[in-house]
């Protein structure tokens, strides 16, 4: 993935997490479920790779969510 697309995915993931943070529940779990439900596999793989590479720009909720996503997707992070 190019830096531009990665940056876009980071922004989108942070947006999702911010929305669930605002709902004051299990934000990381909800974020992971959202990414699983609405993001295509290539997008999920890209954000997993980005986290594996340090996850620059990802907020803490997304970091936890993507880690959980990696476990459920079976691709690790």
């Amino acid at each position: 993935m190019s830096a531009a697309v990665t940056a876009k995915l980071v922004r989108m993931a942070n947006q999702v997490a911010t929305a669930f943070d605002g709902q004051r529940g299990d934000a990381a779990g909800e974020t992971a479920a959202h990414l699983k439900a609405f993001w295509s596999r290539p997008m999920r793989e890209a954000i997993l790779s980005h986290l594996a590479a340090g996850g620059e720009g990802l907020n803490p909720t997304v970091r936890a969510a993507v880690a959980a996503l990696g476990r459920s997707d079976g691709s690790g992070a």
């Binding site: 947006q15 999702v16 911010t18 929305a19 605002g22 439900a37 609405f38 993001w39």
Partner: protein
């Protein structure tokens, strides 16, 4: 069906429950109390002569033709204005009445041109009919007196003429404009013999306030108001009932035909969405179907730098299939995808997603609802359990309070707006939440009780502040919440919205809405009786679009405004089949009926029916397809009926994505902007040339009927089927009714839908199943689709799109009455007389600061790009806000919009773009480059030898 005039009962029906029995010409008839004698007689089949009366308008009593005699009463009262009474004995034909009626007709005819044989209305003229009905045999008043026969004909309107010499001043047109349309553009000027129907203050129709809805033309009993198409072609001889292909209201029309030529579209009186009304688009703007720019032959080219080459259908389909197969072989099946259109039928969109899932082998299918109402899908499914408006349009007649949020119904959904205005004039209260002063805020005989003129992007803060008032002032419908909603979620939500930080006062700096005004609006919504919310893209097209939809649902849940007429949450869908396209599984994560692709049980149903294994992972959304294309992973796309280059945000990114693909297939009526990047063009059929169904914003499934053969050779569903077969996935539908049968078999909410049912009922609203065999006008009556309603916390998060020194203004976009979406259809009609180009509305203060005068060419620049267009000074927008439309490709308004989007759905944030406006003396570089590029890429070589 043969051309038959629908019976006219003369006056509207009475809704009284009390029944009254009377006798008309000795026959007994029982009708609701309050019914006119005229209507009661017609129910017996007794046609009393009439001219000023028609059953779409209140009785007027001016023509004096419908006089009757009533036993025991003196005189000859007008049957239209006289209500029935128990035991009344009415005589409709007596020597005295015959004499009176002939005398009245004599006077009318004495001042009417006797050119019936050459008149366009010959055979469809009530004046002519009445002359026969009353037995007129002579006119004793000669030509030597004064008359109106030399009055000039007003031909200014592009669609109809007004010939006052043929006007009998019955006021049907004036009343239609008042009562049906609600524009009040017409009047009768002067008195007595000088009386004359006139638009506005003696202006020509085109220059007046007239919105060309056609209600006056339809109401006219003579040839005074006549469609130009009737003048040019002649009277129709048969008609077919079909559904309009413009906005989400879904008006039913009679396509009135002469052979296979369309003479006129007349709104169908029995249409349940429109009840015989129309707007300028559906009524008149159908000429694009035969526009010279329409493409009728398939075309291919090796690269987008080559001219198009016309080929046979066989060659085009074979070429497309070969290219798709090559790309799959080289790049994998994930390199393919498709986009379907809300302008296409349910059957067509269902087939496109089936093509992708079964033949492409992935879920890379998306639809244009991505860029409009996808947040509605997410928000309403989360809170209520399904993605649909809760009411039928008739529900508005029962509303006491109407809140319109981010919608402009008089422009975007005009026929519903007329219904709404009727209700508002009858006393319902209106709250408008919009950054712009839309017409509904103040229009003749309608004025909003509150206009919350918020800053663009502040929807969630405003909606949550409304909730704050409702909760803290104890206006919650506790019984409803206790009975119908998840209580834990409610308590969390109530505590959240009650926090002082969410009060109108605390958020005023963010929202721009005076706290007292917001509080008053909240009180009115919560306590004013049955309260309905209607919303549009001003809610969804934001970075928090889905949150706003949930905030709206929260308001209606908290106040108990669900499950009965007059209330609810109603998304006004932009295009005719947005609801249907979403229902049909056009999103990459959902099968038809909103079942997630990861739902193994749902997948198994489809797998068994389609004989393939389906992917359980969501596919790519439109913006993600474009991103992947730029990355080199997404190589081919089939686009049916959409023009993403013009309609989607950040045009330059869309162009880059399309340019990076190896095979772009555009299936459309015209060489649209997207086609400039296409390698295959498959000509489409218009709604007049195919069979199918549309589902409107009230979930109403209605038939689209073919009135003429497709000029391109195939209906659109047939073209998708050809492509599927060429790809090796067999499809063998002989008729779209078979596709609907498959939809019904696989989609629980459509389980009871069939063409036979639609023929029998006219239309049906889903859910239509064993539990609701006749459909569901109102949803969530006893319980929500998800069981209990769910409150969701709606924290306001400011958009990342910030104003600053470089871009200090906020741009918001919308649409206008005469144009539709990207304008592909309406720009190819005479509607351009009302909107030749997109303009930029700017507040006079902002214009003054920049040295911009009304009509100046200005540069509109954002961080995404820049364009030029003309400025229109207007205080409809607040200082700091500018507004434009996206109907014209020359403007390319979406060059300016950004790729920011809704957090949940990626719906673009069209409504908030930080911009700067400055004087300009010419086209932007992009416009100049694009204009040359477009001209080059639309070139077509002459047809070569047969393939």
């Amino acid at each position: 069906m043969a051309y038959l005039r629908i019976p006219d009962f003369g006056t509207p029906p009475s809704r009284a429950e009390e029944r009254v029995t009377l006798f008309i010409d000795g026959q007994s008839v029982t009708v609701p109390a309050g019914t006119s004698i005229l209507r009661a007689a017609q129910t017996l089949g007794t046609a009393i002569p009439k001219l000023c009366a028609t059953d779409s308008l209140e009785a007027f009593g001016s023509c004096r033709l419908c006089l009757v005699e009533v036993e025991g009463r003196q005189g000859t009262p007008a049957a239209c204005t006289t209500p029935v009474a128990a035991g009344m004995a009415v005589a409709t034909q007596t020597p005295q009445l015959a004499k009176l009626r002939r005398a009245v007709m004599e006077l009318y005819i004495s001042d009417h041109p006797l050119d019936c044989l050459t008149c366009a209305a010959n055979g469809d003229c009530e004046l002519q009919d009445m002359a026969g009905a009353v037995g007129l045999r002579e006119v004793r008043y000669g030509p030597e007196g004064e008359d109106h026969l030399d009055l000039p004909c007003d031909q200014s309107n592009p669609y109809f003429d007004f010939d006052p010499s043929k006007c009998i001043v019955c006021s049907r047109c004036v009343r239609a404009c008042d009562e049906v349309q609600g524009t009040l553009a017409l009047t009768v000027e002067n008195r007595g013999f000088a009386s004359k129907v006139t638009p506005s203050q003696g202006e020509l129709f085109l220059a007046s306030e007239c919105v060309s809805c056609g209600a006056c033309v339809q109401a006219c009993p003579t040839a005074a108001l006549t469609e130009k198409s009737v003048v040019e072609i002649g009277q129709p001889e048969h008609k077919v009932v079909t559904t309009c292909a413009y906005c989400g209201v879904g008006c039913s029309f009679e396509a009135q035909m002469r052979g296979d030529e369309l003479v006129r579209m007349v709104p169908w009186k029995d249409g349940k969405a429109n009840h015989g009304h129309s707007c300028v688009k559906g009524r008149f703007a159908w000429g694009y179907a035969t526009h010279r720019e329409r493409i009728l032959k398939p075309m291919i080219r090796g690269s987008i730098d080559e001219p198009w080459r016309e080929v046979s259908w066989e060659a085009a389909i074979a070429h497309t299939a070969a290219e798709f197969k090559r790309i799959v072989a080289e790049h994998g099946k994930g390199a393919l995808g498709a986009i379907s259109s809300s302008r296409c039928t349910n059957e067509e969109t269902f087939l496109v997603q089936k093509l992708v899932r079964a033949a492409f082998g992935n879920n890379n299918v998306d639809t244009c609802a991505r860029v409009c109402h996808s947040p509605t899908g997410y928000g309403l499914k989360t809170t209520l359990g399904t993605s649909a408006g809760t009411q039928d349009f008739d529900s508005v007649e029962h509303a006491d309070v109407v809140m319109v949020i981010g919608a402009n119904p008089t422009d975007g959904h005009p026929v519903f707006a007329s219904r709404l205005k009727q209700r508002l004039r009858a006393g319902a209260k209106l709250i408008v939440v919009d950054p712009r002063r839309i017409d509904l805020v103040r229009t003749p005989h309608v004025e909003a009780a509150h206009h919350l003129q918020l800053k663009p992007g502040a929807n969630v803060a405003v909606l949550t502040a409304l909730a704050h008032v409702i909760v803290t002032e104890e206006l919650v419908d506790e019984a409803f919440v206790r009975e119908r909603c998840e209580l834990d979620a409610f308590h969390d939500w109530a505590a959240f919205v009650a926090e002082p930080a969410r009060s109108p006062e605390a958020t005023q700096a963010i929202t721009g809405v005076p706290a007292a005004e917001l509080r008053a609006a909240a009180r009115l919504y919560a306590t004013g009786g049955a309260a309905a919310i209607y919303y549009g893209l001003g809610v969804t097209e934001h970075s928090q679009g889905s949150t706003s939809v949930m905030a709206i649902a929260n308001l209606a849940l908290a106040t108990g405004n669900f499950g009965r007429p007059g209330v609810g949450v109603n998304p006004l869908r932009g295009q005719n089949n947005v609801q249907g396209a979403c229902d049909m599984g056009s999103f990459p994560h959902e099968l038809s009926g909103y079942r997630h692709v990861s739902d193994a049980a749902a997948r198994q149903l489809f797998e068994a029916a389609w004989g393939v294994t389906l992917d359980g992972d969501p596919g790519l959304r439109i913006p993600n397809m474009l991103d992947e294309a730029v990355e080199g992973a997404f190589k081919a796309i089939y686009i049916q009926g959409e023009d993403i280059l013009q309609s989607d945000p950040d045009t330059r990114h869309v162009a880059a994505g399309l340019a990076a693909m190896e095979c772009v297939v555009v299936h459309d009526l015209f060489l649209n902007e997207t086609a400039n990047y296409a390698h295959v063009f498959l000509p489409g059929s218009t709604f007049l040339e195919k069979n199918g169904t549309f589902t409107n914003a009230e979930r109403r499934i209605q038939r689209v009927r073919k009135v003429m053969a497709p000029r391109n050779g195939y209906e659109d569903w047939q073209i998708t089927q050809l492509l599927a077969n060429a790809l090796g996935y067999p499809m063998a539908y002989a008729d779209p009714s078979q596709i609907m049968d498959e939809i019904a078999a696989l989609t629980p909410s459509f389980a009871g839908v069939s063409y036979d049912k639609l023929e029998a009922m006219g239309s049906v609203q889903w859910p239509c199943d064993a539990e609701h065999p006749d459909g569901s006008p109102v949803m969530h009556e006893a319980a929500f689709a998800r069981g209990r309603g769910k409150f969701v916390l709606t924290e306001y998060v400011a958009t990342d799109e910030k104003v600053g020194p470089r871009f200090p203004l906020l741009l918001t976009t919308g649409r206008i009455l005469s144009q539709y979406n990207v304008g592909a259809q309406t720009r190819r009609t005479a509607n351009v007389v009302w909107h030749e180009e997109d303009v930029l509305e700017i507040h006079p203060h902002d214009a003054e600061d920049r040295g911009v005068r009304d009509g100046d060419l200005v540069k509109l620049a954002s961080r995404a790009g820049e364009t030029t267009l003309r400025a229109r000074l207007s205080d409809r927008v607040a200082p700091g806000v500018v507004y434009t439309t996206f109907h014209h490709p020359l403007t390319q308004a979406n060059v300016v919009t950004t790729d920011y989007s809704d957090w949940a759905t990626n719906c673009p944030e069209y409504k908030v773009t930080a911009v700067q406006v400055s004087p300009s003396n010419g086209l932007s570089d992009w416009q100049a480059r694009y204009g040359a590029h477009a001209a080059r890429r639309r070139q077509i070589t002459s047809a070569g030898p047969a393939e």
